[in-house]
């Protein structure tokens, strides 16, 4: 079954790096957005199975996106992929429903292990 994946990151380079390390055997349909506001807009229109969410973004940051998704009772498996590696950021993200947190730059093996651990692939 195809997994719908939303990648939320303001950097094209970063989104490309994430796509580059997706597991080869993962049947996935990728949607990309470049900011928190766009993420909330597409989530209005579509139910994504998995979201890869950046934290530091120019408009609505990732932590606020999580807050808004919670308000909407949006049911998706959200993984944080961020350069903001403060313990407080990890803690807030988990409190707001993120399943796991991965520091950038993310590597193929790390991503695969994370997805397998959470039985996404």
């Amino acid at each position: 079954m195809t997994t719908s994946l939303l990648i939320v990151d303001d950097s094209t380079f970063s989104r490309n790096m994430i796509k580059r390390v997706l597991p080869n055997n993962w049947d996935v349909d990728v949607t990309e957005v470049i900011c928190g506001e766009e993420a909330l807009e597409v989530c209005e229109l579509k139910q994504f199975d998995v979201i890869f969410l950046d934290l530091t973004m120019p408009d609505i940051d990732g932590l606020d996106v999580l807050l808004e998704l919670n308000k909407r009772n949006y049911n998706s498996r959200v993984f944080i992929i961020s350069a903001d590696i403060q313990e407080s950021s990890k803690q807030i993200a988990k409190e707001r429903g993120a399943i796991d947190f991965f520091p950038k730059p993310i590597k193929t093996d790390t991503l695969l292990a994370m997805l397998q651990h959470h039985e996404v692939v």
Binding site: D10, S11, T12, F13, S14, M17, T56, M57, P58, S82, A83, D84, I85, Q86, E87, S88, S89, P103, K104, P105
Partner: protein, 208 residues
Amino acid sequence: MTTQQEFTDYQIDALKELANIGMGRAGAKLSEVFEHRVTLNVPNVAMVDEDKLNSLALKFETGSPIVNIIQQSFIGEIEGRSAFIIGGHNFADLVNILGYEEDDAIDEGRQKEMLMDVSNAVNSACLSGLAEQLELDIELTNPSIVAFNTPNSTLKDFFFKQKHQETHQTLLFEIKFFIKDINLYCDNIISLKISSLENLRNALERLL
């Protein structure tokens, strides 16, 4: 070869992201040192005239009239320098936050040492994000304080008095930190020498 066209939009985007990784590490370090959450913003990366560096310093928002500037160079496969600006807080309080003894707070030598320690930690973290990803070897030189407990209004007299000799253009990385709980502002302004841009561009091409 004097414009931002030396780098494509995608290359600048990649450099921002690499700076973002360094900023994240530096933010975590600051958070650890001050024991408070650090607010991070998307870094600014651009080719600018070196005069712009002075204007950035003058725009530094402190909420306090007193600031400190610590300058540090890096050498190796890419070279340049950084100015770490810290302000927005009474320095004696800052010393207490950092957990030093009360006697240290009035010792100017110890105060400067503390500032250089913080600057060194932030610069190491910021530059590591760039250098590690690009597989470039760089080394930080010892930091030096160019403005100590200085009135904000006189910053222009201290900041980057000496331009890089060969050009007026520089690649700028501007990284901002804010610790809301203790009203502490830090800017890390990193500028690369034009002579380093070819190495940087080649390393970027390998990564992309």
